[in-house]
């Protein structure tokens, strides 16, 4: 295990964690939005007035990508990666940062894809009754809960790693 951790420097581990969070959230969001955007495209083709009510549904799987980006920003800010103190980061701390990024990296990727699928299921509600757009949004919003929880977990873990550094 020790040799595995020492394979990279602390700076590299932290970069890897930040990048993984950003990539995971980004991939998930891109796939999730593609799913619902396809259906929304069909609905809007037949009824352009549905553009407004459909937009929140198309946008909602995009939040996970933002969470990934927030995580990457927090890592760079908390551990001074931009300020030049990155290379001085101890290997163990860097590895801890990497682990702290994992909830967002994985959870946001998977939840965004499934949120896209849930949105696809909710879209016919808007296609048939525009006034039900609010209800249609609630179903995929429930999937969002777990992406938010993973972001909170990552932030708390990053704070605890930073507190441990003194």
């Amino acid at each position: 295990m020790e040799s595995f951790i020492n394979a990279l420097s602390g700076f590299h581990w932290a970069l890897l964690g930040a990048a993984a969070a950003c990539i995971g959230g980004g991939i998930g969001s891109a796939i999730g939005i593609t799913y619902i955007a396809n259906v929304a495209g069909g609905i809007i083709t037949e009824d352009p007035d549905k553009f407004g009510p459909m937009l929140p549904l198309v946008g909602i799987p995009g939040t996970q990508g933002i969470y990934g980006f927030i995580t990457a920003v927090l890592v760079t800010v908390f551990f001074g990666l931009l300020g030049g103190s990155g290379p001085k980061l101890p290997t163990v701390v860097g590895f801890q940062v990497f682990l702290a990024c994992m909830p967002v990296a994985f959870n946001c990727c998977v939840s965004a894809i499934y949120q896209g699928l849930t949105s696809v299921g909710a879209a016919p509600m808007i296609a048939k009754r525009t006034e039900e757009a609010g209800k249609a949004l609630i179903l995929p919003a429930l999937v969002e809960t777990y992406a938010v929880l993973s972001l909170i977990a990552t932030i708390l873990l990053l704070l605890s790693v930073k507190a441990g550094m003194g």
Partner: protein
């Protein structure tokens, strides 16, 4: 768990997303019971056309006056629906699924035209995959080898059988069997349970009709044996076993199946109403097809929509032609199929 991890659910939103989105909006524009009632209540064709002018049928039915003009307009409308399916469904076989029956219907009529000099009741349908005049020429000149598959083999077989036995019924039997075999193979090819179930129901109901027709026209068991369609859920042996028994035995045989209700409705005092059977069979398949409305993504909503449109066009044909031929309103109401909406 199996469903959650199936690869299909991750591909279908990309494959069918746009089509399903369009269909979900178009489903809201299907004719309602209220509109149908207004059409039945209308005093003449002109009034019916005024009602339909508010719908997608308006542009197709403008200025139609005769039976054949109504037929042509509705056929053009269905052509547009098929074109829509070809645009939104990446599986070419899905369109073929709907076109097959028109092609086989044309081939039957063309063979009869050639050998029996029998002109078809209805003009050849333009809704098939094969170009009508080209096919007609091939059959007239006997160039059967140039007919593409899956039509070539059954056409040659039907003509050979007819020439041997001189019985026009052979043409219908062989081509019907080929049609249902092909429908089943398309459903299997698309690996879709919904479509497979629809085909199996169509086969079962066709077999039931063959059985009832054979009984009604007092045909022998051999007719049923020869005309029976494979791949359904109803077994040939079971039907043959009760062939000489009263019709109640048929109801008992289907006691635990969904077809029982249809049989109870068409058999009364040992007599069978085959026209009513057709209506109930169509309603039965439509009822199953409606399940597609609950499927969020996949080929099902697209197939369900085209089935709904075909059904709607059939209802409209009945109502419009019924008005031209001055069929009483109540009689017309009794013939109208269920709606998908």
């Amino acid at each position: 768990m199996k469903h959650l991890l199936s690869f299909r659910q991750f591909i279908e939103p990309i494959k069918y997303g746009v089509g399903v989105g369009r269909v979900k909006v178009l489903e809201t524009k299907l004719l309602s019971c209220h509109q149908l009632e207004r059409l039945v209540e209308a005093d003449d064709l002109e009034e019916q056309l005024r009602i339909l002018a508010e719908t997608g049928y308006g542009e197709f039915l403008e200025d139609v006056k005769t039976f054949s003009e109504v037929e042509e307009a509705l056929e053009n409308y269905l052509k547009k629906v098929f074109l829509f399916l070809s645009e939104v469904c990446p599986d070419e076989k899905a369109l073929q699924f709907f076109q097959l029956k028109y092609d086989f219907q044309n081939i039957k009529a063309m063979i009869k035209e050639k050998y029996l000099q029998e002109l078809p009741d209805d003009p050849f349908s333009q809704l098939g995959f094969l170009e009508v005049e080209e096919l007609r020429n091939l059959i007239k000149k006997g160039n059967y080898q140039e007919i593409p598959e899956p039509y070539k083999t059954p056409t040659i077989k039907a003509i050979k059988q007819f020439e041997e036995k001189n019985d026009p019924q052979e043409i219908d039997i062989i081509l019907d069997q080929a049609l249902f075999e092909e429908l089943f193979s398309i459903a299997s090819f698309l690996k879709n349970d919904y479509l497979e179930n629809i085909v199996k129901m169509m086969i079962d109901l066709a077999n039931l009709k063959i059985f009832l027709r054979a009984k009604k026209l007092k045909r022998g068991r051999d007719f049923l044996e020869k005309a029976f369609l494979e791949n359904g859920q109803v077994k040939k042996e079971n039907l043959l076993e009760i062939f000489h028994e009263p019709l109640d035995a048929l109801i008992s045989l289907f006691e635990a199946t969904p077809y029982r209700k249809i049989l109870l409705n068409i058999i009364s005092y040992g007599k069978v109403d085959l026209d009513f059977f057709d209506k109930l069979a169509d309603d039965f398949i439509l009822e199953f097809a409606k399940k597609a409305k609950l499927i969020a993504i996949g080929i099902e909503p697209l197939i369900g929509y085209v089935i709904a449109k075909e059904n709607e066009v059939n209802i409209l044909r009945l109502i419009l032609i019924g008005r031209i031929e001055k069929v009483p309103k109540d009689k017309l109401r009794g013939r109208i199929r269920e709606l998908y909406a």
